[in-house]
């Protein structure tokens, strides 16, 4: 069970005590409203913090410290959940009992995390310029590298075009020009504001008990000046329809992406019904899209749908022969029509439910799974435990799936196609 402890106004620790795992997990997230002005800064910040701190002023001394902690890892954490963006750090490390000669790992880990977060290397009242410039270059490379993976690129491009007036269309890492505009001073000022005003979510999975972890983490914030600013409420999707759009690249295979809107979000009572509807339609290897478009008509290798519950968006993606775009699109819409008509077999419904339930039941089997489920849930407002969530899925009927399908309206189509 998750124990929730309020450390200070706006600072919450959630602990999942479990001694089955060899590795423990600790995350600290500063939660921000997703906006164009901040996205790039929030993405850049953890990378700069990971360049050096008091006692470990460069990359190598950080890695040596982590090596001493039995191969512990610390990485940047930048999540997008609905209208929120989080920025922070993620640590994984072996449990104390596997250390040699009674070495401790958790406590020095928390201390080190505190140094990285609150005692960065500074010069002239700002972050070090060379660190910032280096990480700006890396972040730009990461943003530009998105197009290397054509499937991910097409999916992200669809969302950007579909959500031109919604926060969901803001790139999670910002844009290249946003990154270029950041200076060591502007990033440092932003950092000070983030520390002072943001909601802070801390999550721990491991064998230590919650009170002990609370005592350790409390120390990190004890002497910090804070002025917590409440976050705005999450909003539903709203953006004008995008019609049919395309882009040409030198690719062998086309990527068809279709975006649908629905009023159903994870704040709606019908949320789990929509999850099941998505699974029946295109969510896995027994879905209509997979069975009909791939298996029956051999039109693609890769096809599937995804439901973004925090916004009320459902997308379909398929890797196809460029000449067959219209044919595939037709097949996809036909399968959605079938769902709308209630043409869903017991097998399809059961398989969709079982797939969702199976992944929910597996949540408690890894530290990373636990952290991701509950820490994301704390941001989105989805508070069911995996057990409760599974039960709700169990109760979904065919009629409800049909009703959910009827709420889906095609909003934008994006086709990434080859030349010629």
């Amino acid at each position: 069970m998750v124990q929730t402890i309020s450390i200070l106004p706006g600072i919450t620790l959630r602990c999942f005590q479990d001694n089955r795992f060899k590795q423990s997990c600790l995350t600290v997230q500063f939660v921000r409203p997703m906006c164009r002005e901040e996205a790039a800064k929030n993405a850049l910040l953890p990378a700069v913090l990971l360049r050096g701190c008091e006692g470990a002023p460069d990359l190598r001394s950080i890695t040596l410290k982590l090596d001493d902690l039995y191969g512990a890892a610390i990485g940047p954490l930048v999540r997008r959940v609905g209208d929120y963006q989080s920025t922070g750090l993620h640590c994984s490390f072996v449990a104390d009992k596997y250390a040699l000669e009674g070495d401790k790992i958790l406590e020095p880990m928390v201390d080190f995390l505190g140094k990285l977060l609150f005692a960065p290397v500074l010069e002239e009242g700002a972050f070090r310029k060379d660190y910032v410039n280096n990480e700006k270059k890396n972040l730009i490379a990461t943003i530009e590298a998105e197009k290397n993976d054509k499937r991910a690129y097409a999916a992200a491009e669809l969302l950007r075009r579909m959500c031109s007036e919604d926060s969901y269309g803001i790139p999670r890492l910002g844009t290249v020009s946003n990154v270029k505009a950041i200076s060591a001073k502007s990033l440092y000022d932003h950092y000070c504001r983030v520390l002072k005003e943001s909601r802070v979510d801390i999550f721990y999975v491991g064998s230590m008990d919650a009170q002990a972890v609370a005592a350790m983490t409390e120390k990190l914030f004890a002497d910090k000046e804070r002025c917590y600013v409440n976050l705005p409420e999450q909003t539903a999707f709203a953006s004008p329809a995008g019609g049919e759009q395309q882009q040409v690249m030198d690719v062998a295979q086309g990527k068809l992406s279709m975006g649908f809107e629905t009023d159903i979000t994870l704040r709606s009572p019908q949320f789990v019904q929509m999850q099941v509807c998505n699974m029946v339609f295109g969510g896995g290897m027994t879905s209509k899209l997979f069975m009909q478009v791939r298996e029956k008509n051999s039109l693609c290798y890769d096809i599937g749908s995804a439901y973004y519950g925090s916004k009320g968006i459902l997308t379909v993606g398929a890797g196809i022969d460029c000449a067959k775009k219209d044919e595939v699109q037709e097949h996809i819409l036909t399968q959605l029509e079938a769902c709308k008509k209630g043409d869903v077999t017991d097998e399809e419904l059961n398989a969709a439910k079982q797939a969702l339930i199976c992944s929910l039941q597996g949540v408690h089997d890894s530290a990373a799974g636990i952290e991701n489920y509950y820490a994301t849930g704390a941001l989105s407002g989805q508070t069911m435990t995996p057990q409760q969530h599974s039960q709700a899925i169990e109760d979904v009927t065919k009629e409800q799936v049909q009703e959910m399908a009827k709420t889906l309206k095609l909003h934008t189509v994006f086709f990434l196609r080859g030349e010629g």
Binding site: Q23, R60, D67, N134, G284, M285, N350
Partner: protein
């Protein structure tokens, strides 16, 4: 049944071999709801030439992967739908030297296991279904052709090897898979999906006796055919093409730098060398190495940079890869640093810290069901018990690393493959 325990890792494995020759490994995970079974054959993309009961076969490139796709067909049944109805996630993959079929589930474990064993042991190929699969795999080949990571790896393999079939893509080509027939699929299945050529590995809170009972009930009682692999791929330690350069739709140049190594044998000695290779990569250009810091601060590498020691049946190489504006400068810096390490060796303190870190990372990996099942299988076919890795780390000495770097990390053995962005 034989139970082996590994107190330092808090692990155990229950081993059993069926009368038909199938080895079974069960790794208990008390208190976990997830259960996973891997049914793996010691047969992959590179094993295209063999004799079966005296008759010689040369199969088209891509046949192992094609067979993997076709195994999911059972006469009159829908394997995917049956797994789905039980809430299980089935999947499979083909690598250069093995093919794995697996599922994970929380309920209905025994029925899922039965289904896994049934479909993998039942060959059923028709002309129609083979034709249809050529369309699906054709699209899969197209997907990888657009993927710069797989392209740069394939270019590296072609640049480094002339005889070893690693220079042929696992999926084959549209042309090679067009030659695949139900007959050749039958021959490959008969030759390599014999119980004695496979391993069943289960991870989870299950009863090992029950697992053995089910395997005995479903699988053939005996394993009688005579199979010989034809695999002799003598290679020079130099590379046929030391530099391969291509262009694609990428944002920044993407490279893989390989150093050719002697093919390892099987067993503990081979695993020792693999560990030496991994630690040598760590010492040379790992995140805690002075070279990594230098290259990172110069902006020549970013966090995409990494590497290690890769082994496939009959070949081995040290690889470094990532994105860089100047891959040739990275290659030059690695070669220079290798010379320094080859002369001066590695400080004892750095070596111990590196070993501790590598051990810790392996230990963390034991929380992953997939990683445990896969490694136990892969190491079994290499003749080694995976959970003995702490002993191997104890045996590795700094001099091993120094000797390895001196021998392997040289300009003569290296090949650089780069995918550059398309010129506008």
């Amino acid at each position: 049944m034989e139970k082996r325990t590994y107190p330092a890792l808090a692990e155990e494995i229950v081993w059993h071999t069926l009368p038909n020759g199938l080895p079974i490994a069960v790794i208990p995970r008390p208190g976990f709801t997830k259960k996973m079974a891997y049914f793996v054959t010691d047969y992959g993309a590179i094993h295209t030439s063999f004799t079966l009961d005296g008759e010689a076969y040369t199969a088209p490139a891509g046949v192992a992967h094609f067979l993997e796709h076709k195994m999911f067909d059972l006469p009159g049944r829908d394997v995917m739908a049956e797994f789905a109805a039980m809430g299980a996630n089935p999947n499979a993959f083909t690598s250069y030297d093995l093919t794995a079929y697996y599922f994970s589930c929380t309920d209905n474990f025994e029925d899922c296991l039965k289904l896994l064993l049934q479909y993998v042991s039942t060959p059923y190929f028709t002309k129609e279904s083979v034709d249809k699969e050529q369309g699906i795999i054709g699209q899969e080949i197209g997907m990888y052709a657009d993927n710069p990571e797989s392209r740069v790896w394939e270019e590296l393999a072609k640049g480094m090897y002339e005889k070893h079939p690693i220079c042929v893509p696992i999926l084959g080509s549209k042309e090679s898979i067009a030659k695949i027939t139900p007959e050749i699929l039958h021959a490959c299945h008969k030759a390599f999906y014999r119980p004695g050529n496979m391993l069943l590995c289960v991870v989870g809170d299950v009863d090992p006796e029950k697992v053995c009972e089910i395997a005995k009930e479903i699988l053939p009682e005996t394993d009688t055919c005579q199979v010989q692999r034809v695999q002799s791929w003598p290679e020079e330690m130099t590379c046929p093409q030391p530099l391969v350069e291509k262009q694609m739709e990428v944002a920044m140049p993407m490279f893989q730098l390989g150093f050719k190594c002697e093919a390892p044998e099987k067993g503990e000695e081979a695993v020792l060398w693999e560990t030496v290779g991994d630690l040598a990569a760590e010492a040379l250009f790992g995140e805690s190495s002075p070279l990594y810091l230098k290259l990172y601060e110069q902006g020549l590498i970013d966090s995409s940079f990494g590497g290690g020691f890769e082994t496939v049946d009959g070949m081995a190489m040290l690889v470094a890869s990532g994105d860089s504006d100047d891959p040739k400068a990275v290659q030059k810096a690695i070669l220079q640093q290798a010379q320094t390490l080859a002369q001066e060796g590695l400080p004892e303190e750095d070596f111990l810290r590196m070993k501790r870190s590598a051990m810790g990372r392996r230990l963390k990996g034991l929380d992953s069901f997939d990683s445990v099942a896969f490694r136990v299988c892969a190491y079994y076919f290499s003749g080694f018990d995976y959970f003995r890795f702490p002993e191997i780390y104890q045996k590795v000495q700094p001099s091993h690393l120094q000797e390895f770097i001196k021998r392997v990390v040289t300009a003569q053995r290296s090949c650089l493959a780069v995918i550059y962005p398309k010129e506008a």
